[in-house]
């Protein structure tokens, strides 16, 4: 699955990384605890979270995540957006609640198999 499909399935918008929709997504991780994400999310995965501060960018960058997807309408501030742009981190946002977004992505993944 690539980011374009993630966007479609979750009715998400691109906040940063407009040119990166072809980026391959190797899986997903859902958590709002940063150390949990650091310890368990894998390279190339999309991270679903409602945390929107700039440390999300640091975590996504250090783990080489495909993108961070803000759920439940959570939107990052300008500092987070600027940092993501500068570091080439893709940020997406959906108004769907986390459970709904994750459910749709899980279903899409199992359909692909």
């Amino acid at each position: 699955m690539n980011l374009k499909k993630v966007l479609e399935k979750t009715e998400a918008r691109i906040i940063t990384g407009e040119g990166e929709t072809g980026r391959e997504c190797r899986g997903f991780y859902v958590s709002d605890l940063l150390s949990d994400v650091m310890g368990h999310a894998g390279e190339g995965e999309v991270w679903l979270t409602i945390q929107t501060h700039s440390n999300v960018v640091a975590v996504a960058l250090l783990l080489n995540l495909a993108a961070a997807l803000f759920t439940a309408g959570a939107g990052p501030d300008s500092t987070t957006i600027e940092k993501a742009r500068a570091e080439g981190v893709v940020l997406l946002g959906t108004s769907l609640p986390t459970f709904e977004a994750a459910g749709r992505l899980y279903r899409a993944l199992t359909e692909e198999e």
């Binding site: 605890l33 940063l34 650091m38 310890g39 501060h53 640091a58 960058l61 250090l62």
Partner: protein, 147 residues
């Protein structure tokens, strides 16, 4: 492949959430530049990030030091801070003394030190109450990055 003898130092300010993660990010970039295995870089980056966050969350100020040797990497995190009263307790997953603000931001999961232990090949912690803490983590370069 690597540059033995290279030493990089990065200052970390306690409470500076906005800049948190920058030192770990610079360490990661430096390791990539000298051609270290991607799996090893990942382990070092995670461990360095957690060490950096511990300084931001708990200490007044500190620094991260990266030392590159022929066959191993070392990350040292030393700070001026409160020290860790009970290291064994702090190593337990889920135990945290982070502030409410830090927890609201998604820190303080009590996984920082466990992540650092998991990602490094050896870790030593020296800590003195009301003085500070020094964490030394060693990473073997010539493995496949699996821990």
């Amino acid at each position: 492949m690597t540059t033995p003898g290279m030493v990089l130092r990065f200052s970390v300010e306690g409470g500076d959430y906005a800049a948190a993660g920058e030192a770990a990010s610079k360490i990661k970039k430096a390791l990539r530049k000298i051609g270290v295995d991607a799996g090893v870089i990942r382990r070092v980056a995670i461990a360095a990030y957690e060490a950096e966050m511990n300084i931001v969350l708990h200490a007044l100020r500190g620094r991260l030091i990266l030392e590159v040797a022929e066959d191993k990497l070392r990350v040292i995190a030393e700070d001026e801070g409160p020290g860790i009263p009970d290291v064994n307790l702090a190593m337990q997953e889920g135990f945290s003394t982070a502030s409410d603000l830090a927890r609201e931001m998604g820190f303080g999961a009590g996984m920082g030190l466990p992540n650092m232990k998991k990602c490094s090949d050896t870790i030593t912690i020296e800590t003195t109450k009301d003085r500070g803490t020094k964490v030394v983590m060693n990473f073997d370069i010539d493995d496949d990055g699996v821990t």
